[in-house]
Symmetry: C4
Subunit: 249 residues, 4 copies
């Protein structure tokens, strides 16, 4: 069985990341419009909508590209798969990152247009400080650990629901509301609404996310030292009947 | 194994579409009654109830008719299956569309009666404008892409939960609250409550949904060019152990 | 493989129905205590907690007794299985009904005690009238159709999640908040809190539920005329790998 | 296939229990910050976030350690497995309990830091009295019954979602908000925020949880008298294709 070409996979990454940002920004705009002044209710709607949308998007695009939608996941895939050439190549990694960034910005514009906001506006919402950066480290580390632990345990078929549930929870249990994704972070710059982030706040978030990547990969290789052939199946929804492998076997 | 006859399948489409409209209109009426003035809380209850109900209805009726409940899905099934006669025939398509429309209106009447509203009333809720129509294009395109991507990837067993989650999310991330279904749109004309839509607003919504159909099918055939034998299994819940096919194999 | 004896199965039905009533009454008491005056938020918490609890209880007790927890389901099982002796026998049916009723009342008492309410108190909440009774017919008919459609389609492994989701949705889309269960209805008489129902309102609800039973069975045998060997597997969670049968094959 | 060593399993228990406490405490802090004075909305967010997080954490750490995260579960595993040496040994039990306690406290500190609260503070929230202790008995008994019933019925693959849903519901239907876990109870001492518990209230809760353990195990051995080889697979997410065993066979 052959893999889809890089062009088709990059298109899937762009569309998936774009629709993810549309879901995050759009549901945030709807929530603030319907429940002005009720921040808790806004985040509740935003988190449930994001969890459901993310699970569905991984189902749609997983069989094509692996449904990374996230430079941190693509970087980890490339990093963990270097030795046995099971992950993304450097060239593929580049294609994925560009597609994710372009898609994220486009998805933000689509959300703005759907909600009759300026097509492009820079967010004025400052986010940062040590507690929030720690939140991003935890959120991103947990995400990386989840995605690759499922792959190494041969359970990639539950990845769509699990990643959705994880982000839905992390919106609440991290102080940063769990961006956990550099491409989505950049995309969310271009809306001055609930889900936005000011340009000046992006570098701090991205650095924290990269630290989270290192932490997540570190924990992963301690808990699941054996990659085996599962390394190739990251967030890939196409393997419901994957053979079960015992950890450490 | 033989297929159920068209009469039985049309009955399933009518009942399923009807109960879907009952769930949408009924939960909207309950939410406005219990939380007057709190639009965000109303939509939260309405979206969760719809997501749960839709998943369950696909489980109930999927093995009989494929659980389309939606002219856009039936049209796509007919369109995508013409070449190899795997989808609905033109005659079957006609039966499905009539059943969906009749069921949708009846389901609205049942909801009105359950909530002690006039059995039939025309909605006075105007919905429209470019941002909302864009919302319908996105919502419908995503729905078509989801349903047929799962079928082509051999994962139709997760369709019930995935479609429910998708609509639950799209209520929030599209400005139109994601009608995404011409039959349901028509059914919702006949209640002057939370979920209603004024007759004059229907054409704009339906046109946007048809554009969404074209967009969704276009993306589908680029990402999943190979239909294979899965073409016949659209939203069919009866295949939990379907063989896994690699995309593009 | 032998079936558990009737004593053990009746114990499972009593415990399961009891814990279900504890979940319904307890979450209602918690919701009114935490959100006084906010009826919508109360029902939202009550419905989500009930949906989650019901799914879990079916998982726990399904392999022992089939997890009916509901006289309507047991009656339908007996009725549908008479011809080929696949369902409950009359003696078993009697044991199930008694266990469900006793369990329901005991579960209500436990909830009262957990929330520091009088151990036994008659509810003063009147519920009735044609719209609500219609709600009970729809709710109960849908439940029966769901449970037996899944059994006949060979998909009993998803019954726990599906029944939980169904009731969670039906709390909202029926005007009666979907009791749909004579034993639970009786149990809820014995608390004067959110989830209670006045004794005088019970007969109307139970009659409506029995009409719903007839409607649900009627639709079932039209849509799924072939019971086959699945008839025995009603709401039984022990068959994740059940052979898939085409409807009408 | 060999089991991971005790060191690696203890690390998994510490990390998993820690992240669970981070999720509980963190989402509670976020909820009170965003919805001050709205206790019902706070618990709704807290319960949904906990349910999602717990399911995900069991998926991540289950294949390594069995994802107990809870001394009550580890004790039951040791107790039920003594005869045929299928459960934890006494030495392993000790390692698990220490890891869970250390992890729980560390997780609370991380949550405090993420939300800019004092790294360590003793809670001033008193919790106790007979109704709440009864709540803990019910919550813990139900949890033990759920976990081991799924193991004995050969359905450990649904344990992650089921345990998450159970705790999400039990937050609402028990008056104690279902701590149901001595390690998490101790961890929650060290934050003076929504999820905290005063040190003086810990003994009562832990005693009630241990009574719940006995009740849960008692009901289990009556309903599922045959442990068989499933005894070893407690909350272990690595067995999606486990052979199905009939109860009582």
């Amino acid at each position: 069985m052959s893999r889809p070409g890089l062009g088709r996979r990059a298109l899937a990454e762009a569309l998936g990341t774009g629709l993810l940002v549309s879901a995050v920004v759009g549901s945030g705009a709807m929530a603030t419009r319907l429940s002005p002044g009720e921040a808790g209710l806004q985040l509740l709607a935003n988190s449930i909508a994001t969890a459901f949308a993310l699970a569905v998007l991984i189902l749609i695009f997983g069989p094509v590209s692996g449904a990374h939608f996230n430079p941190v996941v693509s970087l980890a895939d490339w990093w963990l798969g270097r030795r046995d050439r099971a992950g993304l190549s450097a060239r593929e990694l580049g294609g994925y990152l560009v597609a994710q960034l372009v898609g994220a910005v486009a998805g933000c514009v689509v959300a703005n247009l759907m909600f009759d906001l300026p097509a492009v506006a820079l967010s004025s919402t400052r986010r940062g400080g040590a507690p929030l950066w720690l939140g991003e480290v935890v959120a991103t580390g947990g995400l990386v650990l989840l995605v690759f632990a499922l792959a190494r345990a041969g359970r990639a078929s539950v990845t769509p629901a699990a990643v959705g549930a994880y982000i839905g929870a992390a919106y609440w249990f991290t102080s940063s509301t769990s961006f956990a994704n550099p491409a989505v972070t950049v995309g969310r710059v271009f809306t001055d609404s609930f889900a936005g982030i000011a340009p000046a706040s992006v570098p701090g978030f991205v650095v924290a996310q990269l630290i989270g990547l290192v932490v997540g990969v570190g924990v992963l290789v301690v808990l699941y030292p054996d990659a085996g052939r599962a390394a190739d199946a990251v967030v890939d929804a196409k393997a419901p009947a994957a053979p079960v492998r015992a950890a450490g076997a």
